[in-house]
């Protein structure tokens, strides 16, 4: 067992974990942050995407990069500052959350947390993407319900509203 600590959605956690425990399992089962789902076991689907930054104090979400939390071990996230879908809103909904709602960019909602977190990173990197750039930027996030059309509209809408994480 290895002792790790990290900040998740603004709250500090300290735990002993097996080195092989995946970060996504740590988030869901140890920290209880079940808003981040698991959709595959080969890092293809992106449902588990969270934002991760170094933690010497909490960093604003804008400095964080997206990571598929199934592709990291919890021990690799020791010292990290993580934002999950449950920590994205800040008193009110994040512009991406609002846009997804307005544009009907979700149906079953299972891919949605990862899709929104990946989109947040996309817009951090490219605040005014073209439609093609949005599609390419979300290539690592699979959705079976929407056909992506409204997801792309939502991301473009959030971008036009000046969405910064």
């Amino acid at each position: 067992m290895t002792k790790i600590s990290m900040t998740i959605d603004g709250v500090r956690y300290e735990d002993e974990v097996e080195p092989r425990m995946l970060l996504v399992h740590y988030l869901r089962e140890v920290a209880g942050r079940t808003g981040t789902p698991i959709g595959c076991d080969t890092t293809n689907c992106g449902a588990c995407t969270v934002l991760l930054g170094n933690s010497d104090g909490a960093t604003p979400a804008g400095d964080k990069l997206s990571v598929k939390s199934c592709s990291m071990l919890a021990v690799q996230a020791d010292g990290a500052d993580i934002t999950t879908i449950q920590g994205l809103a800040n008193g009110e909904l994040h512009p991406l959350q609002r846009a997804f709602h307005e544009e009907h960019a979700l149906q079953c909602g299972y891919c949605t947390p990862g899709m929104i977190m990946a989109a947040a990173d996309l817009l951090r990197d490219n605040p005014n993407p073209t439609e093609e750039q949005v599609r390419e930027g979300l290539e690592g996030n699979l959705c079976r319900c929407t056909g992506y059309q409204n997801i792309v509209r939502a991301v473009l809408r959030a971008a036009s509203e000046g969405a910064t994480p």
Binding site: E18, R20, M21, H25, R28, E29, R33, T34, G35, T36, P37, I38, G39, C40, D41, T42, N44, C45, A47, T84, I85, Q86, L88, A89, L93, Q97, F100, H101, E102, H104, L106, Q107, C108, G109, Y110, C111, T112, P113, I116, E131, V134, R135, E136, L138, E139, G140, N141, L142, C143, R144, C145, T146, G147, Y148, Q149, N150, I151, V152
Partner: protein
């Protein structure tokens, strides 16, 4: 007076979103219970083998392991997984134990299990289980499986059933027919791939059980689990919490659900099982998988004389809940939107040593629509006719509805002319044909193809009487309850079981519209058999067409009860009252009235109700549809095909669909988009591929090419609206329509691009390699 605007047709954003966009979801895998144990299943690595021995003793010694079992430990109590659709009297339905005992018949079949304190310990212990197999030959090809020398999947042989339908004089239709087209199409096997992997939790309390499952069918599952396990139905509660997509793949009574119940009973402890994606690709039932032999007889001007369809349908290793019926749903759809003199359909259900097949978005109708629409574009090419002109020559005219087809269904309404005209306009059909000509003339390495798909489909499953005639084991009705709370809020309890379809929103719209209560004041409850005691669940594009109409019926009853009470409150006769949404008022004296909220409150106090009137507005309705639902549409696809690399790129895709009266256009568009994605994926990307030993090769999302955002175009969608005449709302189903229509539209476009090279067909999925080979072979044959 409530300020109600007409809710039907309103672009309402969804109530469901609030929890979904903030991660406040309740997926089955989220569930934690005190003392919860984790189950892992050991699955056969071989497609076909005798089980000589299973040794779980080492697994039982592993840290954190509570128990480990083989099939022998459950043999006496596990029964057989049900097939609820015995399509013929002499159908072969093999015994299907949830955990194999003597023989495994597909790679992935469960042979043992471990129950441990956490999922990692359970996975570790699986590796300690020792199974001794004696390999048997796999059975992978349906035609070979039906020959005398073939190895047998089951004692009774490899043929499960043969089902035939015929109408009209086929001999006359084909005799002296100026044109006869004969084609064989392969409808490949697909993996449904809902984004949420399956999960089950079962918690026992004394002799009562609660089961949470990522299921589309909580009500049906409850009945089936009671029958299979022997647990009395009233002591079993089934809950579908938030469910992350289904598409038919969660319309099932699974080995894992049955075993979770049996384990909870045996151990007296709550258990959870969550599948990995690799496990799911292997073990969730697969879709499609048919070999289609199609013959069409036509006149020289394209008029269809006769259609003959001979299907081999791959059942997989066992018949699951509705496996044999899926191809038969297509039986009534090969004739599609066309008139003809004669029709013959035969389907043979064949066992193979592969994962069982069952319902997947469209369930039999995409297969049929592909068969006919691909053949129609092919026929048009044979005749030198424009493919749209061939449709026009044969379709049922708008003026001819209601129309009873050669396969015996009566289509209530439709307007193929209007949908097609709109599609052609949106698509820019003539310009694209000109561009196609130009590219052909210049020998452009990137060719352009245009594919047509004019479809209808039969959904809104279904009139119970018809289901009975087809030997389907359940009914097709749906149930709704309305509970009027004292403060004027409304609780709706529906028998539908949404897993992404937005029923909480659309049902609120229906109630708001009929009862005249604010949309926000309605709450929709579903998915828990303790809350929603009666229902037939969600699949087959039935929830609005059947469940929504049931809800409408319940609204009518509420309004009628309110009338009597309002009359009492206003001291008039009920005949003097008239209804405007939300209010009963005195005819000619509209200031004298009572809102539905006032009436509901009056029933709570019940101080002054008329004699004999129950102090309640609450009402139920159960609706059994009189007919299937027949949405239709015209889809046009323009595909660029790079003849040097075989790469296909969809240049534009137009879908004009008619789903009758639209309750929520946002939801309808979303269903169309998602349906298109899956249908296009079948045309271009997806296939559940097996190797020569019967191993599934596409077990991960790295191998099974579910499309991403870069693999799909932006769709241009529009609607015509021709109301259904068989229900008071005029609504039709939409959930599967996009998938049904799009596969042939895309494949037709690919083939159309390549016809000048002598290519007659490209087998699905039209991968670059297949396209490139087809061109090469055609060119080679031409020399």
């Amino acid at each position: 007076m409530t300020d109600t605007v007409n809710e039907i047709g309103k672009r309402r954003t969804r109530k469901e979103d609030a929890r979904l966009i903030t991660g406040q979801t309740n997926w089955t895998d989220n569930i934690q219970l005190p003392g919860l144990l984790h189950v892992a299943f050991l699955r056969s690595p071989q497609a076909h083998a005798k089980i000589l021995s299973v040794d779980v003793s080492a697994a039982r010694q592993m840290p954190g392991v509570i128990a480990a079992y083989s099939g022998a430990d459950f043999a006496a109590e596990q029964g057989s997984l049900p097939c609820a659709w015995p399509v013929t009297p002499d159908i072969v339905i093999p015994n299907h134990p949830p955990m194999a005992t003597e023989e495994v018949r597909y790679g992935g079949e469960i042979v043992a299990c471990v129950v441990a304190r956490d999922r990692y310990a359970a996975a570790d212990a699986l590796e300690q289980i020792d199974v001794d197999y004696e390999s048997l030959p796999p059975v992978l090809d349906m035609e070979a499986a039906l020959t005398d020398g073939s190895p047998k999947v089951h004692e009774a042989g490899n043929k499960s059933f043969e089902w035939v339908f015929a109408n009209g004089d086929m001999e006359a239709a084909f005799r002296d027919a100026p044109v006869v087209l004969e084609r064989t199409y392969r409808q490949q096997r697909l993996i449904p791939c809902a984004m949420e992997p399956r999960a089950v939790v079962c918690a026992p309390v004394a002799d009562e059980y609660t089961l949470w499952s990522a299921t589309q069918i909580p009500h049906v599952l409850r009945v089936m689990l009671a029958l299979v396990t022997g647990i009395p139905e009233h002591k079993l509660r089934v809950i579908a919490p938030d469910v992350g997509g289904g598409f038919g793949s969660k319309l099932q009574v699974t080995a894992e659900e049955v075993l979770a119940v049996l384990l909870a009973r045996k151990l007296g402890r709550p258990v959870k099982w969550t599948e990995s994606r690799s496990e799911g690709n292997l073990a969730v039932h697969h879709g499609r998988d048919q070999l289609q032999r199609i013959r069409i007889a036509a006149d020289a001007d394209g008029r269809l004389r006769g259609l003959s369809v001979d299907l081999l349908a791959d059942m997989g290793a066992y018949l699951m809940l509705v496996t044999p019926g899926v191809p038969l749903l297509g039986a009534f759809m090969f004739n599609a939107i066309y008139k003809m003199d004669a029709y013959f359909f035969k389907c043979t259900g064949v066992f193979t040593t592969k994962t069982p097949t069952d319902a997947y978005r469209g369930a039999g109708r995409p297969e049929a629509t592909f068969g006919i629409e691909h053949a129609m574009d092919d026929l048009a090419a044979e005749l030198g006719m424009d493919p749209l002109a061939l449709r026009r020559r044969n379709w049922i005219a708008h003026s001819e509805f209601p129309y009873t087809t050669i396969s015996g269904l009566t289509y209530d309404s439709g307007n193929y002319e209007a949908a097609t005209a709109r599609a052609v306009e949106l698509f820019g059909y003539d310009d694209l044909r000109k561009e196609q000509e130009a590219r052909r003339a210049s020998g452009d390495p990137v060719q352009l193809g245009i594919g047509v798909s004019t479809y209808t489909e039969m959904c809104g499953l279904a009139p119970s009487r018809v289901l009975g005639q087809l030997a389907y084991g359940a009914g097709g009705w749906e149930h709704a309850s309305i509970r009027m709370l004292p403060t004027g809020k409304v609780e709706v309890v529906t028998g539908s079981s949404a897993h992404g379809q937005g029923h909480e929103t659309a049902w609120s719209q229906i109630v708001a519209d009929r009862l005249g209560v604010p949309f926000e004041d309605v709450r929709v409850l579903h998915g828990d058999t303790q809350v929603s005691p009666k229902g037939m669940d969600t699949y087959g594009s039935r929830s609005l067409a059947v469940g929504g109409v049931a809800l409408y019926g319940a609204c009518e009853k509420v309004i009628a009860k309110a009338k009597v009470i309002a009359a009492g409150m206003l001291e008039v006769s009920p005949e003097d009252l008239e209804w405007t949404p939300g209010r009963w008022s005195v005819r000619g004296d509209p200031d004298q009235g009572k809102t539905i909220a006032e009436i509901a409150l009056a029933t709570f106090a019940a101080h002054n109700l008329p004699d004999g009137v129950e102090p309640s507005l609450d009402s139920d309705a159960t609706y059994d549809p009189e007919s299937f639902s027949f949405p239709h549409g015209t889809h046009l696809c323009a595909a660029e095909v790079d003849t040097e690399t075989g790469q296909v790129r969809i240049r534009s895709y137009v879908a004009v669909d008619d789903v009758g009266t639209v309750v929520n256009p946002l939801i309808v568009d979303g269903q169309v988009h998602g349906g298109l994605a899956q249908g296009i994926a079948q045309a271009l990307y997806e296939e559940a591929a097996y190797d020569a030993d019967g191993n599934l090769l596409t077990t991960t999302l790295a191998d099974y090419l579910m499309p991403s955002a870069t693999d799909l175009p932006t769709f241009a969608t529009d609607r015509t609206e021709t109301p259904a005449t068989t229900n008071p709302m005029g609504v039709k189903g939409v959930g599967e329509a996009g998938t049904i229509a799009s596969t042939p539209a895309v494949v037709n476009a690919v083939v159309d691009a390549l016809r000048p090279f002598g290519v007659r067909d490209v087998e699905m999925p039209c991968t670059p390699q297949r396209v490139w080979r087809a061109i090469g072979q055609a060119r080679g044959a031409a020399r």
